[in-house]
Subunit: 246 residues, 4 copies
C-alpha cells in the first residue's frame, strides 16, 4: 500500500515593519497590522489620530474592514509552506491568481509518491485501503513506464526529463504535492472567504481554516472577523461579514 500524507502547514515568512523615524506616530501593534495602519494614515496624514474612536490599532484595522478600504490589506504579506496537499487540491488552489506559488515538480523528483486521501475516504478504512492499493499499483505502473521510456529515449538530461514527464500522467489526482505560497492579506482574506464556506471542497476548506489559524497568530485583528464553526459532519467552516464569497 502507498503511504497517506497528512496536511502540514507552516507560516515561514511574514512582514516586518519599521515606521520612518521622522513621522511623529506610534501604535500599539507591530509588523503587518502596524503597517496597514501606517498606510491608511498616510492617505490622509492623520498620524496625530484625530479620531479618538480609531486611536488603537485594532479599532483602526476594524474600521478599514467596515468601510471596505481593502487595498490597505495588500501591504502585508504572509508565506506558507504546505505539505500533504493533493494535486487535485493544488489544481484548484492555482485558480487564485493573486498568490505566488512555487510547487514541487513531478518532473525532477524521485521518491515513491505518497497520496492524500480526501476526508470522505480517509474516515472509512475499507475505502482508504482501496485507494491506497490503487495508488500502489499506479506507482508500479509509473515505474514500469519510466523504465521503458528511459530505455527508449536514452539517458541524457532532456530525455530523462521527457520520460519523467510522460510517466507522471499515470499518477492519480490524490498524489501528494508540496508548495510555497505567498500572498498579501487581501488575497489570503479572499481565499479564506471563498474556500472556507460550507459548500467548498473539503480538502481546500481544511487548508483555508488551517491558514486562517496561523494568520490569526500573526495578525489577530486583520483576520479576527472570521468566525469558525463546526458542521454536522465534524469539519469546520469560516465566514466573515466583511468579505464576499466570490
Amino acid at each position: 500500500m502507498s503511504r497517506a500524507a497528512k496536511l502540514d502547514v507552516a507560516l515561514i515568512a511574514a512582514t516586518r515593519f519599521q515606521a520612518p523615524e521622522d513621522v511623529d506616530w506610534s501604535t500599539d501593534a507591530e509588523g503587518p497590522e502596524a503597517l496597514i495602519e501606517f498606510a491608511g494614515r498616510a492617505c490622509y496624514e492623520t498620524f496625530d489620530k484625530p479620531n479618538p474612536r480609531t486611536a488603537t490599532n485594532a479599532a483602526y484595522v476594524r474600521h478599514i474592514m467596515e468601510v471596505g478600504h481593502a487595498a490597505l490589506f495588500e501591504h502585508a504579506t504572509a508565506t506558507m509552506y504546505i505539505r500533504g496537499i493533493s494535486r487535485a487540491a493544488t489544481h484548484e488552489f492555482l485558480r487564485h491568481r493573486h498568490f505566488s506559488f512555487s510547487q514541487l515538480s513531478q518532473r525532477f523528483t524521485h521518491d515513491e509518491p505518497t497520496v492524500v486521501l480526501p476526508p470522505a475516504i480517509a474516515e472509512d478504512e475499507e475505502l482508504s485501503r482501496l485507494m491506497l492499493n490503487a495508488a500502489q499499483d499506479l506507482a508500479f505502473i509509473h515505474d514500469d513506464l519510466l523504465g521503458a521510456l528511459e530505455e527508449k529515449l536514452g539517458t541524457n538530461p532532456l530525455a530523462t526529463r521527457q520520460a519523467r514527464q510522460a510517466a507522471r500522467y499515470v499518477l492519480p489526482a490524490a498524489t501528494e504535492s508540496r508548495m510555497v505560497v505567498t500572498g498579501n492579506y487581501r488575497t489570503w482574506r479572499h481565499f479564506i472567504a471563498a474556500r472556507a464556506t460550507e459548500h467548498a471542497d473539503v480538502e481546500l476548506r481544511t487548508l483555508a481554516i488551517e491558514c486562517l489559524r496561523l494568520l490569526r497568530v500573526e495578525a489577530p485583528t486583520a483576520f479576527g472577523d472570521f468566525d469558525i464553526s463546526t458542521l454536522a459532519d465534524g469539519t469546520e467552516m469560516a465566514t466573515s461579514p466583511y468579505v464576499a464569497e466570490f
Copy 2:
C-alpha cells in the same frame, strides 16, 4: 481499455472593431490588428500617419513589436475552446495567470473519463496499451468508490457532490479535460513564447503551436514574428525575436 482523446482547439471568439466616426483615419486591416494600430496612434494622435514607413497596418504593428510597446497588444483578445487536453497539462496552463479559464468540472460530469496520452507514450503501441489499461482499471475503481460513497453519504445534492469530489482523487493526471480560455494578445504571445520552446512540456508545446496557427489566421502580423520549426523527434517548436521566454 479507456479511450484516448486527441487535442482539438477552436478559436470561438475574437475582437470586432469599429473606429469612431469622427476620427479622420482608416487603415488596411480589420478587427484586432486595426484596433492595436488605433490604440497606438491614439497615444500620440498620429492619425494622419506622419511617418510614411509605418503607414500600413502591418508596418505599424511590426514597429510596435520592435520598440516593445507590448501594452498595445492587450486591447485585442481571443478565446479558444480546447478539448483533448490532460489534467496534467491544464495544471501547468493555469499558472499563466493573465488568462481567463472556464474548465470542465470533475465534480458534476458523468461519462466514463477518456485520457490524453503524452506523445512519448502515444507513439509506442505497448506503452499506450499499458496506460489505457491502467486508466480503465482506475475508471472501475472510481465507480466503485463513487458507489460506496453515495451509499454512505446519501443522495442529496451536497452529498452527491462530495462523493464525486472524493472519488475523482483516484483519476490519473492523463484524464481528459476541456476548457474555454480567453486572453489578450500580449498574454497569448507570452504563453506561446514560454511554452513553444524546445525545453517545454510536449503536450503544452503542441497546444501552444496549435493556438499560434489559429491566431495567425486572425492576426497574421501580430503573430507573424514567430518562426515555427520541426525538431529531430518530429515535434514542432516556435520562437520570436520579440518576446522573452519568461
Copy 3:
C-alpha cells in the same frame, strides 16, 4: 480663456462569438452574452439545457449573477475610446488594474491643452471663467518653459522630449486627456459598481454611467442588473445587488 472639453465616450471594440460547429447547442443571444453562456455550459457540459428555468440566454446570465460565478464574465470584453476626461480623473481610473489603458501622451503632443471642468465648477459661470483663465495662464507659462528649455537643452529628439516632459509639470489636473480602455465584463462591472455610487468622484461617476449605458446596448442582460437613479443635485448614480462596491 482655454477651451472646456466635454466627455465623449464611444464603444469601439467588442467580442464577436462563433460556437464550435460540432457542439449541439444554440441560444437566443449573440456575441458576448452567448459566449458567457457557452463558457458556463462548458464547465458542466449542459449544452442540452437540462434546467428549463435557465433555458434562455437571459435567464442563464442572470443565474450566473445570482450564484456569483463572476469568472464567466471575464470571457467578454469591450473597448471604449474616451475623450474629454481630465488628468485628475485618469489618475484615479488607472487604479483599476485589470483594465488595459493606452493614454494620450503629454510628452509628444502639440496643441494648446484644453481642460475638463469638474461639474461643481462647470455649473457656475464665474468659477468656470476663473478656472479657464487660470488654465490659459498656465498654457502661456507652459510655452515659456518649453521655449526656454528647448533653447537650453537643444533640439535633438531626446532633448525635445525632456523639455516637453519638464514643461508639462505646470499643467493643471484639469488638463484634458484621451484614452483607449479595454476591459472584460467582470472588470467593467466592478468599475461601475465602485465608481457609480453616490460617494464617488462626480467626473468618474459620470464616466461610469456613460460606459454602463453603452455596455447595455451591447449586453442588455449582463449589465441589466444595474439600476440608474438621479440624485438631488441632478447627477446620476447606479447600483446592483450583484456586485460589491469594493
Copy 4:
C-alpha cells in the same frame, strides 16, 4: 513662492523568514534571499544542495536569474514610503499594476501644496522661480475656488469633499504627493529595469535608482545584477543583463 519638495524614500517593510524546523537545510543568508532559495529548493527538494556550484545563497540566487526562474522572486516583498514625488510621476508609476499603492488623497488634506520641480527646471534658477511662482498663484486660485465652492455647496462632509475635489483640478502636475508602495522583488526588478533606462522620465528614473540602492542593502544579490552608471548630464541610470526593459 511655493516650496519645492525633495525626493525622500524609506524602506519601511520587508520580508522576515524562518525556515520550517523539520526541513534539514540552512543557508548563509537571511530574510528575503533565504526565502527565495528555500522556495527554489522546495520545487525540486534539493535541500541537501546536490550541486556544489550553487551551494551558497548568492550562487543559488544568481543561478535563478540566469535560468530566468523569475517567479521565485515573487515570494520576497518590500515596502517604500515615498515623499517628494510629483503627481505627474505618480500618474506614470500607477501604470505598474503589480504594485500596491496607498497614496495621499488630495480630497482630504489641508496644507498649502508644495511642488516637485522636474530636474531640467530645478537646475535653472530662473525657470525654478517661474514654476514656483506659478504654483503659488495656483495655490491662491485653489483657495479662492475652494472658498467659493464651500460657500455654494455648504459645509456638510459630503459637500466639503466635493468642494475639495473640484478645487484640486486647478493644481499643477508638479504638486507633491506621497505614497506607500509595496511590491514583490519580481515587480521591483521589473520596475527598475523599465524606469532606470536612459530614455525614461528623469523623475521616475531617479526614484528607481533610489529604490534600487535601498533594496540592495536588504538583498545585495537579488538586486546585485543591476549596474548603475552616470550619464553625461550627471543623472544616473541602471541596467541588468537579466531583466528585459518592458
